[in-house]
Structure formats: C-alpha cells, structure tokens
Symmetry: C2
C-alpha cells in the first residue's frame, strides 16, 4: 500500500512527524508537505507563481519526502500527478494542530488537501487534534493507523473522505467514536481593530467559538465537545439539489436577456 | 436594499467595475474587495497576519468602497461583521475573469467569497465570465442585475447561493438559461516542469481542460460549453450523508482505542 502524507502546518510540524510514525508498517510512506505553515489557506492553489519542490531527508530513511513551496492542495495535486511514480492508495492529511469542525473545514488547508485527494480519485483522510496547545499526538496517531487500515480494507466511494477530530484528553476520558455530520461553527468578536503608528486601520482575525446551540451528538461540533472521536464523511459536491427546483420555479430557464 | 460587492481579481479589475455599473439602481452599493489579485485562493482566510483596510474612492461617489489586504473571504467576513453598519441583503462576487465551473469552484476566491456570505446568513451570488481574454462584461453585468433582483424578490434559504457562469459570446449566440448542478472539471498535462539557472526544480500549474465526458446539460460544465447561462445553487455542507451509514457498518462506533 502506498500512502501519501501531507498537512498544512508544514513539513517541520510535530503533528506530521507523529502521523508518519503512527503509520509505520501500514504501507510505503511518501511525505509531500508545505515547506512552511499554510494554515487556513482553504483550498487555495498556486497559479500565478512557480512552485518550488525540494527533496527532504526524513529521519526515517524508508520515508521518501518532498518539501513544496505551495499550499496543501498544491502538494497533493503535484504529488499525485507529477512527483509519485504510481498513484497512492490513500492520502492522509494531518495531524493538524487544532480542530477542523463544522463550517471551519472550508477554511482548512488540512481538509482541503484531503479534498484534493478525492478530486483526483484517491480515498482520503484528514485528521486533527482538538487543541492548539497540546503536543501529545499519541492517540491521534493511533486513530490514524486504525482508520487508514479500515479505509484500505473497506472500499469507500472514490469521492469520499473521512474528516477526523480527536479530543486532546487522556485515553480514559475519550467516550468512544461517532460517525458525524458537519455542524455549524460560529464565532463572536471576530475582528480586533487596531491602529498602526501612522494612524492607519488594521484588523486581526480573533474571536471565540460560540458553543453549539444543540446537543445533537450526530453533529461533529457536539461530538468533539463531548470527547468523542468524530469521523465525518465528506465529499466535494457543493450543489444544493434541494434548491434546484425552487430556482427553476422562478422561471429562470424561460427568461430572456 | 444593501448590496455588498466583492471579487477575487482585485478592486481595480474591470469585472467588478462593470458589475457595480450593472447593479446601479437596484440598491445601495458597498464594495469591499481585495487590494490586489487573489485568484485561486479558495476559501483562504488571513489568520497569521493583520488585515489592512483602506477607504477607496470609487468613481461613482454614491458607492462606498474599501480595499482590503486580504482574501475575498476576508473581505466578506470583515465587511459583514465589522465594516458595514447594517447587514447587507445580498453579497455579489464577481464578475470573475474566467469561468468557475464544476470542481473548480473549490479553488475559486470568487465563489468562496459568496460561500462566506451564506455562512454569515446573507444570500449570495457569484458570477463569472467564461473567458480569460474577453473584456466585454456587458451581458454578464445584465445577468447580475436580473438575478440580484430575482434573489431579493424570491427568498432563498439563507444557506444557498447561486453560482453563475455567463458565456463570452454575442447575445444572439446565447442559448438561454439553465439551472445546473456542479459537474467535474478535469485537466491534463497539469504541471510544467522547469529548472532554474541553479539547477533546482520548479513547476508551473498549467494544463488544458478535458472536455466533459457527458452531454448532460444539467451539468454546469456542459451547459457552459453549449453557451447557456448556467445557474447552480450551492450550499456549504460538505457532509456525504450517503456514506454515513456505510461507515457505521464497519463498526467504527464500537471500536476501542
């Protein structure tokens, strides 16, 4: 089995190193990750600039690695189409420092890398640790190992990925696993306004998460809060089928110009 | 009616200027757009750097405008939560130079700005001209006017946006309007490999679009190719509901750690 590993915290991040250790023995590992941090870059790709790629000497000599001056989606795209000789069997993105839940997945470079995987027809997994401070990726790395084996054994539709969030608590406090759907993630006090020394306005994105307004444990935002390992199947089709007929009823299709 | 206008080609682009002219008379217009081009930035947001915002003097004095050193999603987020005194009734993003069809919408700053609109509960419209060379936004700008009025008259679910692609052909060659779903957009020869003067590898994202493999005019990629104005309802819920049960059947929820 061939595993393409990437992330958005950059190739030097502890999360990706622990992920690679956790996957040892599952298959041949290829790391293709951003040369520097690319958090919150969403599904950005590099089109106006060239993308520099360098071989990277991973500590474990069995791991082949490249550092890419680009986004996580660039890494997966250039990895699958250009750098790797054979298509990988799975793409795994993470382990992200901080959760990727609900509407936040749209901003996430980690999840977007996995979405790029399924766009290119490779089953994918994105995995995040629900803490911006913890450096303990032990459980998340075990979870990646378990799910990677499961995904390789249970063929998923080629357009599906699993987005996984692991609570940053001791093993004894983890309540179990939940297959979830994406919830809403809202923030308050989003921007902090400042003035530079010359009197010009600037803003920092900040803000606190508003606790979920429901207790529905089928939502990833709730499952994570209750210390479940949340596993959300995701696809890339944003079509709102429910609304198609409603819009047709306006008579749009019979309009002139 | 209050209309928030943005784009990803930057506040100086002809597309946004023609869009604003086309919306004249529909409502009060606020332009909040990136200070420079931000194509293909996907749903990236700026979290590690401050976001500079400057007042911008639009030629039409009735239009209030701000140039934002950030992504299109930043513009909509900071516009709705911070810069505007009242929530706008609609967000319109465009007119993009080049189509945003099928899987490509995930990479699109234009569409992501509109997705940010619906995340914040404001009905949104993204509009693109299907040409990288044409400078004639006349028809696209009329289409924006028509759909903006329609959307304000026909209440859409707050989580829905319309993604519109307008053919870059004379009016007589436009076949009509189609309400569509997102198709697949595939490319071949994606990366061009070069070496810099020092012998280091770099790559340019390039590639040609592969023509759609189907003739189904309900797909945006086909409708656009056949010179229809394509209108696709989009939401932001990436959950793959179809796969949830399949994943539960693996026994994930009863696993240990």
């Amino acid at each position: 089995m061939r595993i393409l590993v990437t992330n958005d915290d950059g190739i030097f991040a502890k999360g990706i190193q622990e992920l690679v250790k956790g996957l040892k023995g599952v298959g041949e590992i290829f790391v293709i990750a951003p040369a520097s941090e690319r958090s919150a870059c969403g599904h950005g790709i590099t089109v106006r600039q060239p993308i520099k790629v360098r071989k990277y000497h991973w500590q474990d000599k069995e791991v082949k690695a490249w550092a890419v001056e680009g986004t996580p989606a660039d890494c997966v795209k250039i990895g699958i189409t250009t750098l790797l000789e054979k298509t990988p069997d799975i793409v795994i993105s993470g382990i992200n420092k901080g959760s990727n839940l609900g509407t936040d997945v749209l901003y996430s470079g980690t999840v977007s890398a996995a979405i790029e995987g399924i766009i290119l027809g490779v089953p994918s997994l994105s995995i995040s640790l629900d803490s911006f401070t913890s450096e303990d990726y032990t459980i998340a790395s075990q979870v990646a190992n378990i799910l990677c084996r499961d995904m390789l054994n249970n063929q998923l539709a080629p357009d599906t990925l699993l987005n996984v969030n692991v609570p940053a608590v001791p093993k004894s406090e983890i309540k179990g696993w939940k297959v979830t759907k994406l919830g809403e993630r809202k923030y308050e006090n989003i921007f902090e306004h400042r003035k530079d020394p010359h009197g010009n306005d600037y803003y920092w994105l900040a803000g606190q998460v508003v606790p979920p307004s429901t207790q529905d444990e089928e939502l990833d935002v709730v499952a994570a809060e209750k210390n479940y390992i949340s596993v959300t199947p995701i696809h890339f089709d944003l079509t709102n089928y429910r609304i198609m007929d409603q819009v047709k009823k306006w008579g749009i299709e019979t309009k002139g110009i």
